[in-house]
Amino acid sequence: MAQESTTTEMLYDEHHRRIGRLCLMLLGNPEDARDVAQEVFLKALQQSQNADEPRDWSAWLTRVAINACHDRRRSGWWKWWQRDGRELNDADLIAAGPEEDAVRAQQRVAIWRGMRTLTEGQREVFVLRQIEGWSTRQTAEALNLSVESVKLHLFRAMRRMRKALWSER
């Protein structure tokens, strides 16, 4: 039991920042991202008590985080709640960097706005491929999509993101 909690603690220390960022990118909301990240590590604790521990905890955590975000986005109350503007707003984004760097602040806002325009599938593929650095095949397996679908989602996501970036320049 002590060893299990040590494993979970180690996992938490090693991955919680990355999982939090991933959830934030997928949900666009810091409070929800923290909630979902907590859920993910609770599941990790439960999983560590099982006999069949995953070989690659990093990939397992990422997959669980993606599914948890997916579930959160699909839940009815989340949609209802989001209509009140709970998502990360421009002021939060500008405040997320040094005050003197106005150009970069505008760029941040533009990029996160672009992120909001992506569909759920595009967002998931983009985050896994471009942020997490997964291969097309790994992404396809994790998201239960075909390789061609992953390529298409990524292509469209990148086009939109570049458009958002260039809208600011």
Partner: protein, 208 residues
């Protein structure tokens, strides 16, 4: 390959695995313009990923704010307003449902009385038609005083107030017309002396 690769092709090249699209990659190694465009694309991609990562890191590093201030004052107001609106709508709906439940017996009674009234109206209109026709049959034979013109006639299913006073014929009489009520009474009015106001009328029902 002739000509340079367009932006979409370059993007597709950048996003695909290293072994994909060998023709495009071969062109890329030879064409200086395409190489520059490809590098620009790669820079954009890198900027996007770095910006997203850095912002997410900064946002997540900020300690979680209390729930009541997490969305700023405006967010809280919106949320409370939404709750208030939902509550008001629910209260209105409840009040409406309660009022309907309370009014239901009264509504039933009203419907019942409307049905009865419409039956009386039908009967009365039939009678009114009959009265007019009856009055026409005695045109020219004296004064025909009918209550068909009276608005109250509509509420009287009987034709008992058809009074015919014709001094020349002494007795006014008309038969029940086909289609009129079987309850129709006929009055026999006999003037007493020269005074027309002093007339004695007897119902056909009284005479058998």
């Amino acid at each position: 390959m002739k000509g340079c690769l367009d932006e979409d092709r370059l993007l597709a090249l950048m996003l695909t695995e290293p072994g994909d699209d060998p023709t495009g990659r071969a062109h890329l190694t030879r064409c200086r313009t395409c190489t520059i465009a490809y590098r620009e694309l790669a820079t954009d991609t890198k900027v996007i990923a770095q910006t997203l990562n850095a912002t997410a890191r900064a946002v997540m590093a900020t300690p979680a704010r209390p729930v009541s201030h997490a969305r700023g004052e405006q967010g809280c107001r919106f949320r409370h307003r939404r709750i208030l609106m939902t509550g008001s709508v629910a209260a209105c709906a409840g009040a409406l449902a309660a009022a309907l439940l309370l009014m239901l017996p009264a509504v039933r009674r009203q419907i019942h009385s409307n049905n009865s009234r419409s039956a009386v109206m039908t009967m009365a209109s039939n009678t009114a038609v009959a009265t007019r026709v009856s009055a026409d049959t005695v045109v020219g034979s004296g004064d025909a005083i009918t209550s068909a013109e009276s608005p109250y006639m509509l509420w009287q299913p009987y034709q008992s107030d058809v009074i015919i006073t014709d001094p020349t014929e002494d007795i006014g009489y008309h038969e029940a017309l086909p289609g009129t009520s079987t309850y129709q009474d006929l009055f026999f009015c006999v003037p007493q002396g020269d005074d027309e106001d002093n007339t004695v009328c007897t119902s056909s029902a009284d005479q058998g």
